[in-house]
Subunit: 257 residues, 2 copies
Amino acid sequence: MAVDHSEIGDEAAFLAAYDPSKYPHFGVAADVVLLTVRQGRLSVLLVERANHPFKSSWALPGGFVEPDEDLDEAARRELAEETGLAVDATYLEQLKTYGTPHRDPRTRVVSIVYLAFTARVAEPVAGDDARRARFFAVDDLEVPALGQPHGTALAFDHAQVIADGVERARAKLEYTTLATAFVDTTFTLGELRRVYEAVWGMPLHEANFRRKVLGTPHFVEPTGATAPTDGRPAQLYRAGPATTLHPPILRGSRELA
Amino acid sequence: MAVDHSEIGDEAAFLAAYDPSKYPHFGVAADVVLLTVRQGRLSVLLVERANHPFKSSWALPGGFVEPDEDLDEAARRELAEETGLAVDATYLEQLKTYGTPHRDPRTRVVSIVYLAFTARVAEPVAGDDARRARFFAVDDLEVPALGQPHGTALAFDHAQVIADGVERARAKLEYTTLATAFVDTTFTLGELRRVYEAVWGMPLHEANFRRKVLGTPHFVEPTGATAPTDGRPAQLYRAGPATTLHPPILRGSRELA
DNA sequence: ATAATAGTGTCTCTCAGACAGTATGTG
DNA sequence: CACATACTGTCTGAGAGACACTATTAT
């Protein structure tokens, strides 16, 4: 590195004299959109807020990042604290950051939102800031207010955040193998297909789906075992090492016509 | 909304008494990865930092967000202040947020990075915190240090940020019409094809590219005018209203074999 | 003329969509 | 048996890759 050494000394002096209060500082939160498929419906995990602001409203699990904590660590910690669910065996990626002024009535808050997929069917347990915690089918949330107990009007801008997360999930299933994150470690092709159908909200042609999945190298690997169904027993598979799909599986084009 | 009115009163009282200093507050910055194609090479706009930290290193344009400023506004403002380039006629989207502890030696800083595409060939003008501002071909940056004056070792984690932005741009060209953001308001199919070739770093089959672009409804619209080239003059097109490509244009699959 | 780029036509192969039919479990 | 789901085979049409060819400018 061709950096002048006198400037390194300058920098050390600069840092020693640095006063952080010269620049504005904001609250920084990490929130999680945890998606799963239950009873054939794409669902999101929400908590009922026990405290102000938006007390008694449903909201995404999340909270302030600690001073020496990485952003994704904060997301995992808040999820565990408020809902008892661990994100370890689960896919987690950054979704988007929301920081419009006044989106939080307390103070300026910038929220880094993570998107997670899980197969877990264990019931969440409310903890910490949460009065209750449970899954909602995303279809039941798109409509702003449904008149459920305490309303399902969501806190902050979380309705938009969930919509963004769902759209990201739908797109991701097209060109990645992440559908396997929604099912158990072993699964049948029928189960995998029902994940696509729940996330995309449309039926898929069964024979073509099978041909596409099995024709993609290392998407799934047979285990040799079978699982009972309501009809003929099905082969069990596990997720393979492939992560991307080339070419992608395309849902019916929702082009502008 | 079925919210109890007594709780609204509670919330007002809560907010009046709220003390922001109870929670940790971080510095929040907005940075910009501005990509363009010059001389057939995908290039990124960098500034040489005039001040500590990382004084004299090259870095992405950006800086701290103001207390009442939206995040994307801050990105546009910092870009204009440091390089004189306006992002108005340019595509801008959020790329990712980087907030690992100690990525900034001053204090905890969370940086929301935006990705921008532009056709402009106007030379940037250094201003504000920047000693110089110019474009670098991204290929020249992948190698950590090149031994240029003051080195091209990039400030902060910006080498990784640029790599993420380039990968996002490459993916976006596959399934969106955003290649048109890299060319002028009117352009030839040869110019558009050279954008793909520069971003993807591979030659494209000319006849098939033409068939694909013209066969996608509303990707481009003919203007009727022509432009001179080194050979036969070419039809001029403008960008159409389509935003997504179904099916996508796929670059050669870079599968795991 | 040659060089250079724009633009057209067409063959082939892959693959998605559709559908028919077979296999194997349960009540 | 009917019923449900898993699984196989095959036809067809759309579209990508490859290549040959023509068109129109500059020098």
